[in-house]
Structures are given as structure tokens and as C-alpha cells.
Symmetry: C2
Subunit: 366 residues, 2 copies
């Protein structure tokens, strides 16, 4: 990890971040901003300057990190290139649009919005102001993800995708289930679907090379007293016969799987969102698996693939985002639309799951 | 493995098997009968005595193994205690009933019948003739299965079951897809659902401690030109909120998973039907998984559990079945109903999947 001295980069291609709010997840992302070689943590803003000060101290931010008592001050700071928005989802439209209008590039926590309509307000604001948009889905940036994608794209080793199963569950404690923003209808109304389900849906789309399904069917949900989803199972289906299912929950033990099965190969990963270990992550594959004579055993065991990384995935996310911002800022490039497209596809599926629930768990066209 | 001399046991508790037909799967089971310490392969019968002779020779059956040119001769042989029935499913009712009427104990390949109505004809015949019934689901008899069940039953390590995902897929070759009995409507009309799906459904029921789901919903099927199922996805739901999904297919790479998620623990197994290796099998568990500070890593990796066995699971199945037959034959015990109950529950779910397909993929009460 970089020392605190080296955090203050004098490189001209260093992107200066402002953070809106003192969310728990912002601790991890602020460290990532510090770790990434092309970014600096310029300012943290909170509605309470005392809270921001305490947060900066607790997280050992460099003394030169500015501290503001409002989000507007962050947006008005001309030295800030980009903002990271870890606010409750229901506040994203307001603050992302204001940030875009101030020409701040935007890294926004997921879910980005409560629905595609709101998302489009954000993305249109980014478009019309020429700023980069990216959501905070860290695992997309782990080098393992690209290597797994290479396997899935390989017609010889994997063939044609047939099935994806994904789950992300964690056993929230009583405090979370009572007080976390993710169980509050006025803050994160999508509950477990927008939080944990986001990753499953993204994983499924990723495995399907981002081809949207034709139909989505919610299978079952559990809600809290305020009708916020605490667990959800759903199925996605494509015209060509591909089927995916996912399970997301606040009520089950920590599990994060992708199983992708093709005509010729199978991929298994059990820690896709947050690797067991930061520096070294693995996944397993098997191609053209079959049996020995009389089906006594398999003819091969799956192969374990280990991928090492110097920077953790969250720092690689910041590095990628900052490089895109640098391209716009210093080289006149256009914003990279890939990331907003992925956010939008993910939200289209979330909307379809909600629509299916509203229709009594009937299939819904995406 | 026992030498051929030692196969001819003179123990009074040796159960003498007759096999009806020269199926490919019977090669594995005949070896298991030979391997199991309480059984002998007494006779192989085929509609063609030449075929039976060639089969006995090709599989190195002991010279004293009798060879008959009809199934009736097997049933009429008073030295035969039990028959193994690996015939096409559509023939099971006829031959299982005839075997039961001849007081032969029955080990029957899966699927046992085309539907629960037919199954009940078989089970009633077994009941009224006092013979033991067991289906040929080998993995139930691996010592690993019991150890995994202990984990699932442990309120401290696993908690309450919430989700099960299971799949069994294999990439059948062109010859299989054209000619195998499992794609023929007059032989194994349940296709991939009765063959591969059998295992997924059994795995789900096993994980749910054999509690039947309240509803079953088929999600998607692929059929061949003769309307035999080649792949099927379905969801099972229980009153208490448990949800299971499965995927079975002849059209995807070899994959055989159970993922069971409880409130406190998770079980993963990727070779549950046929272990990668005969003598040593594994599974992985994690209990109360959580993250390190800032969710940088997991606080623990899953534990890998290795289970060794002297006898392969198919021989342990024969041993268990033979011990039950011995109890009836020599000690006046009643047949063990556990195994027919499990077959029946599995078939109830298969019937519900078929009913859901027939109703346009609507939920069906079990």
C-alpha cells in the first residue's frame, strides 16, 4: 500500500475525488482512491461537518483532504474532478444530476436508481454534460473477471451458454434488519433486490455477454413489515433457450456464486463479489467433462485457476474510472458509454423483476 | 477388489441377485453386486441368450453365473433372492410387478415409473408380497451424503434451510440424442427430467429433509421432435419460504451441483452423483461467513471435507439393499419403507413438473 506521503500525487493525470457522505462503503472506496495511482481523495463532504471530521480522522485521511459540511460545497469545489456517490438510492437522482450539471464525473453506488426512469434522468444529465458515469460494481474490475469472460467466450472450451445460476446472500443481523438504509422504503426501496440482487443480475448479464433476456419471472419474495424485499428468487429466459436463476437475500448465510454451464464447459466461482483474499483469487472450470468406463469416476477434475493482483478490485475500479476521466479532461475524449449501458441493462432486469412481482409472479417481457 | 474366487460367498447371509437385461448401467451394478460382501451375482437374463452370454463374457462374470434367455426364467429361479431392473422405464411396471409376485426383492433403476400412478402399482405389489423395494440412486449411499446431511441438520453450523440450487447436465453425443432409450417416447418418456432431473429433485428433497414442496413451477423445457424433454428448469417452493431451483439437461457440459444455503451455513458440492474419484470424495462448507473490516476479504475460507470409502457408492447401495433383504429373509423383519417413500416423493415432484408444463408453466400444487 502507498504511504500517506505518496498519496499526494503531483502527476497531471491525477483525478481528484470528492465523496458525498460518510457511508460505510465509502471507507473502502476512499482507501481505493488513495491506493489507485491516478487518483487522490480531495474532499469529503457530509451534511454535518463534525461527522465528516470524525470520519476523516477515523479513516486516517491525509491532513490535506478537505472537509465540507455540505454536499453542495463538494460540487462547487473547482478542483474536484469526480464525485463518488454512496448516498441512499432515493437521493441519487438529485445529487447525481446536480453533480453532472457541475461537470463532475460520477462514480455512483448501486443500485444507481429506484427504476430505469430515474436512472435515465441521471444518465441523460451525464450525457448532456459530457461527464463519465460508472456504477460501483467492483468485481467487474478484478482481473479474474476478464479471464473468466475469456473462458465463457471460448467456443472450444465453453461452447454456447445454456444456464447461469447466481446467488448473493448474507445473514444480516438484527440491527441491519431494523435500521440499515437497505430495509427502509424511503431510502433504498429495492431492498435485497437492489443490493444483493444487483450483483446476481449483473453476473447473469455478464455471463450472457450482456444480451438482455426476453422474459423475467419473479419466483418468490420475502418482505419486511414496510414491504421492502428481504429475499428474492427470479428466473431470466432468453429467446434461444438460455435460462438463468438467481437468489438474493439478507436472510441467508454469506454466499456469492456464479455457475455458468455451456455446451462444452462449466465455470464455478463462489466468491465473485468479494474474493476470499484480496491479492489472490480463483475460479474453477471444466471442459468436455465425461466419465471413465462404467461411469465409475470423472475423466478429469475441474481445473482451479488462480489470479493474483497487486491492486484490489476496488482500486482497479477507481483506476479505470480515473483513466476514463483523464481521457476526457486532458485528451478531449468522449465518455465511455459501456458502463452506463451495463447499469441500464441491470436496471431493466430489476424493473422486470418488480413488474413480475406486481403481476403476481407472472412472466414479464424485458 | 475381491478376486473372482472370493465372489462366491458361502455365507448364509449372501443375497443372490438376478439382473433383467443387458443395460449399460447394469455393468456398473453387476460389478457392485460382486464387490459388495453380502451379495452374489447369480444370474443374468436377457431376451436373447446370445446377448446375455456375450455380456457375461465381456464383463468377466464368474463362470458359475447363470445365463438365461428370458426375464421369466430369472423370476422362476428359486435361488434368486432379488432382481435388479435396469430396463427402459416403460417396462418397469410389468416386470417389477411380476418380480414382486414371485417374491423377488426389487432394486429398480430410476426413474422407477412414468408417473406416480404407475409407481404405486409397483409399490403396492411390493407391499402385498412383502418384498423390499429400493431405487438405484447410488449417491444416497456414499458416506459423504450422510456427513453432508449431518451438516444440514446442524442448527449451529447450518441453521434453517433457505435455498437449494441443483443441476445435473451432461452433453449427450449425437448417437445418444438419436438412439438412446432416454430420448424415446415409448421407452423413457420422461427424458432428461426422469433421468438427470431425478437426481436434482432427489437432492433438493434430501436437502429439505424430504419435506415435499407446496408448489412446483416448470420454468422452461427443450424437447426433441418426439416431444421428449431434453432439458428442463423448474422451481420448488415450500410454505415456510424455502425455494429450490434445478436445471437438468442432455445438452450442456457435465455438471452436477448442490448448493444449499441456510441461515447460518452454506454447502457446496460439484460432483454429488458420481464423485470425481471413487475412493475419496469431498464437499465444502462455510458457517457464519462474514467479511474482514471494510469488507476487503472474507473472514474465513470455506472448509473442504474429504470422505474416503473402501467400497464405491454403488457397492454400498447393494450392501444396504442386501442387508435389508437378509433381514426379511432370515430374521423375519418387515421391508424398510424409507426407500419406497423417497422414490414416491421424487415421483410426486416429477409429476408436478409435468403438470406445470402441461398448464403452460403455471405453478402446480404437489
Amino acid at each position: 500500500m502507498a504511504t500517506s506521503e505518496s498519496r499526494i500525487s503531483t502527476n497531471t493525470n491525477t483525478i481528484r475525488f470528492g465523496i458525498l457522505g460518510c457511508a460505510e462503503i465509502a471507507r473502502k472506496v476512499s482507501q481505493a482512491i488513495i491506493l489507485s495511482p491516478n487518483s487522490t481523495l480531495h474532499v469529503i463532504g457530509s451534511r454535518s461537518i463534525e461527522k465528516a471530521r470524525a470520519y476523516a480522522k477515523a479513516n486516517n485521511f491525509h491532513p490535506t483532504t478537505k472537509i465540507y459540511g455540505s454536499y453542495d460545497e463538494v460540487l462547487d469545489d473547482h478542483e474536484v474532478d469526480a464525485v463518488y456517490i454512496p448516498l441512499p438510492t432515493s437521493l441519487h437522482v438529485e445529487w447525481a444530476v446536480r453533480a453532472a450539471e457541475k461537470k463532475k464525473h460520477i462514480l455512483c453506488e448501486k443500485p444507481v436508481a429506484l427504476n430505469v426512469k430515474d436512472l435515465d434522468v441521471i444518465l441523460n444529465a451525464c450525457d448532456s454534460n459530457g461527464v463519465q458515469f460508472m456504477d460501483g460494481t467492483m468485481w467487474m474490475h478484478h482481473p479474474r473477471t476478464r479471464i473468466m469472460a475469456d473462458f465463457l467466450a471460448d467456443s472450444r472450451r465453453f461452447g454456447q451458454l445454456k444456464t447461469v445460476q447466481s446467488c448473493f446472500t448474507f445473514a444480516a443481523d438484527e440491527d441491519f434488519l431494523q435500521n440499515d438504509i437497505r430495509v427502509k422504503p424511503d431510502l433504498d426501496a429495492l431492498g435485497a433486490l437492489g443490493d444483493a440482487g444487483w450483483y446476481c443480475i449483473r453476473a447473469i448479464l455478464w455471463a450472457a455477454n450482456y444480451e438482455l433476456p426476453k422474459t423475467v419471472t419473479a419466483l418468490r419474495i420475502t418482505e419486511n413489515g414496510a414491504r421492502v424485499i428481504l429475499s428474492c428468487d427470479a428466473s431470466l429466459q432468453w429467446e434461444d433457450g438460455k435460462v438463468a436463476t438467481f437468489n438474493c437475500s439478507f436472510l441467508s448465510n454469506l454466499t456469492m456464486d456464479i455457475t455458468a454451464i455451456g455446451t462444452k464447459g462449466t465455470l464455478h466461482i463462489n466468491d465473485f463479489i468479494i474474493p476470499y483474499k484480496e491479492a489472490e483469487a480463483s475460479f474453477s472450470t471444466v471442459s468436455e467433462g465425461w466419465f471413465t468406463d462404467m461411469a465409475l469416476e470423472w475423466n478429469k477434475k475441474p481445473s482451479e485457476h488462480i489470479v493474483t493482483t497487486d491492486l484490489p478490485q476496488q482500486a482497479l475500479m477507481i483506476k479505470e474510472f480515473s483513466a476514463l476521466v483523464d481521457g476526457i479532461k486532458r485528451h478531449g475524449l468522449q465518455p465511455e458509454k459501456k458502463w452506463s449501458t451495463l447499469s441500464r441493462k441491470t436496471h431493466l432486469v430489476i424493473d422486470a423483476v418488480i413488474a413480475s412481482i406486481d403481476k403476481g409472479f407472472a412472466p414479464v417481457e424485458v
